[in-house]
């Protein structure tokens, strides 16, 4: 697995939120991707969109509830088509399967189309360690690979890179002259990778969907790199999470409508490639061998928890990222592992361990925009709350203080709020204290004038250091009601 940096979320997000380039990139994704998505919904009408969402959701729910059955069907059909399915319990096992194929088939060069699961495995690192030249071929992934970084966004991995940075990177790594035209940069990547496609022994792809009934792997791309990776080399290995399976090839219609519209605002991508095994005797081209590696790597933990199972319905469109007020400020790297954004704040803790990623479920205002945007209607806020609940109930799970408010204070707060007399007395005391503190020119709480800015209150510092504590009003609503609003004669 790649290095898990999910613990660094508070520090990393504090840095990235101030980065003007990241802010600009995120704004582009917001208007480009999410704007396009909304246009698509208007075009097909919100009513039809809701029907599609419901259909897709029901299909996914049914498949997950009977996942063993459909995985078995998938394995049988892939075998019948002349392919080979391998099951991997974890990342190490998945890597060992690939390493074994590399050794026994004498693989020297591999081309790879985009796969988030391969990021979970740190597959490229493993391949390089056994002497395979591996090339990412999606332009964004290629840039990220050259820069030795991790993806910034589920569908746009190099979203955060400016064209100037890409040009410097290409000059350094590919030896091409500097260029300021994006067309020229893409052409340089095409040039650098074209020969690799034709030389490669092994093509590696992910899967957007697996069709159980026909034993088919489906990938959706715009560049054509996915089709080249799965058509040109003599071996094709698909690597995918076990949750990608759907029952029937007829289910694809609705998913092919939802996914590109939700991801990039496209009605359909340039290429949809469906692979059902190695080439047959009469085929002009295509791989001689087809292997499918089905990966668990922590997914059965999500499957076993009825409260979290629906996170496995995710089709990785990234719509929840583009609309999330937190992701839109901090960007993808702050999340510290493979899956960023709202869905990543559920998936990453479940795959790397909740104790490793206890800050991620807090990285949400629970506004519900992600649930609105999700083409499968995944109830992300409910699951984030569920994870917060788990963290609060199991204080030792993380080996660090859970939540942002110490328990005695939370209990005291609950007591005061439940007792009107106590509340009134507390308010009077607080008002007096506030007047005293804000009145003093040397008060640390009065920074910036009227409000109590980012107060460093003892015991509450975790809660208050990044939040403005609102001033206590001169009169409470209860007092206003009593004094004015409830007056039957309407006298003011």
């Amino acid at each position: 697995m790649p290095e898990v940096k999910t613990r660094d979320f508070p520090a990393a997000s504090a840095v990235s939120i101030l980065d003007p380039q990241i802010r600009m990139a995120l704004q582009r994704a917001g208007t480009g991707f999410d704007g396009g998505r909304r246009e698509c919904i208007e075009e097909v009408t919100p009513q039809v969109w809701e029907e599609w969402r419901e259909q897709a959701r029901q299909t996914k729910l049914h498949t997950l509830d009977h996942l063993d059955y459909y995985l078995e069907m998938l394995e049988e059909r892939v075998s019948a088509n002349g392919g080979q399915v391998h099951f991997a319990a974890d990342a190490a096992e998945a890597n060992a399967i690939v390493a074994d194929l590399v050794r026994t088939r004498g693989v020297r060069i591999a081309t790879k189309s985009k796969s988030m699961v391969s990021e979970e495995l740190n597959l490229n690192h493993m391949l390089e360690s056994i002497g395979v030249d591996v090339y990412e071929t999606d332009l964004g992934e290629y840039i990220i690979q050259l820069a030795e970084e991790t993806p910034f966004h589920l569908v746009a991995p190099a979203l955060h890179k400016s064209k100037e940075e890409v040009s410097r990177l290409f000059t350094e790594k590919l030896g091409v002259p500097p260029m300021d035209d994006i067309n020229a940069l893409a052409a340089a990547a095409r040039e650098a990778l074209r020969q690799r496609f034709l030389e490669a022994d092994l093509g590696i792809s992910g899967a957007n969907f697996l069709v159980a009934e026909t034993g088919t792997l489906v990938i959706i791309t715009n560049e054509g790199n996915g089709r080249l990776c799965t058509s040109a080399p003599r071996i094709h290995v698909g690597i995918t999470g076990m949750e990608k399976v759907i029952p029937s090839v007829q289910d694809l219609a609705v998913f092919l409508r939802l996914l590109p519209r939700s991801a990039t605002g496209q009605r359909i991508t340039s290429y949809v490639s469906m692979v059902s095994g190695p080439r047959k005797h009469d085929d002009e081209d295509g791989p001689e061998e087809f292997h499918l590696i089905v990966v668990d790597n922590g997914r059965s933990r999500m499957l076993a928890d009825p409260d979290l199972r629906e996170a496995l319905m995710c089709i990785r469109c990234g719509a929840c990222l583009n609309i999330c007020p937190v992701y839109q400020k901090v960007g993808g790297h702050a999340y510290g592992w493979v899956y960023p954004g709202p869905i990543g704040s559920i998936v990453s803790p479940m795959l790397v361990g909740l104790d490793q990623a206890s800050d991620l479920p807090q990285a949400s205002s629970l506004c519900g925009a992600c649930r609105e945007a999700c083409p499968i209607r995944i109830d992300i806020p409910r699951m984030l709350l569920h994870l917060r609940h788990k963290l609060a109930e199991e204080p030792d799970a993380g080996g660090r203080a859970k939540g942002t408010m110490p328990r005695p204070i939370a209990n005291g707060f609950a007591k005061v709020m439940a007792n009107p007399g106590l509340l009134s007395a507390t308010r009077k005391f607080a008002r007096a204290a506030q007047a005293m503190l804000l009145g003093s020119p040397i008060s640390p709480l009065a920074r910036g004038g009227r409000g109590i800015r980012k107060a460093g209150l003892p015991l509450l510092s975790k809660w208050t250091h990044s939040r403005d504590l609102p001033e206590i009003a001169p009169r409470s609503f209860g007092e206003i009601w009593k004094q004015e609003l409830s007056n039957p004669d309407g006298e003011r």
Partner: protein, 247 residues
Amino acid sequence: MAEATGTPKSEFLASVRRALGRQAGPPQTEYPRLAQGIEQLEDQAREVRERVQANRGALLDKLAEVAQLRGWQVRRTPDPEEAMDYVQSLADGQGANRVVRSRQEVFEAVPLDATLTGMGITVTEVAHGEGASRESLREQIAMSGMGITGVDYAIAETGSAVIVPRRGLGRLVSLVPPVHVALVRPDDVIESLDDLFLMRRLEYMRNGGDMGPYLNFITGPSRTADIEQTIVVGVHGPKEVHMVLLG
């Protein structure tokens, strides 16, 4: 085919069952789509064909319109001579010395070879055997400035050309050369994605569980927006795609 490595299937499936807390076996209620047998699909497919037949003119209009929106350069003509002139002008504009094409029925209606050869262009039909190995054909494809194919389906809903495997139709012909020309006959048009997958599922069942090793959609040129969300065409696949609609 080699042995599976990793966790044995039975063990892996057992762990999934443990997570779900369920016993082995099919769902209590069969998934509705999988419950439909070949007779029902035959009936539905007949309805689809009748619907397409009755609306062919409107569907061709829609295909032309949507395909254009998705990035195809659409040329619509029922006249094979005019279609050939168009392809000739494209080859001329490209300055292509080599062209590859598939071996498909449509080339009997639109016999391009003589026209292109007359321009001094080397035309290779991509079909192995008869002295042409897969490797040599691949080299021909890689050197060609244009690839020409027919299609198996053209979907009006999405503006997509769909290709399924057959002798004489490589996947790389429509992918590797910088220009792809798709020749679409009126009979190829279908209305929607639902139509396509219904037909393919029926085909799968008729063939006793064989759908062929691939099914490829092409919808417009190769494109990317991976640098600063700026759209660039022709990154790994063709930068230019032409749909010649023969009706």
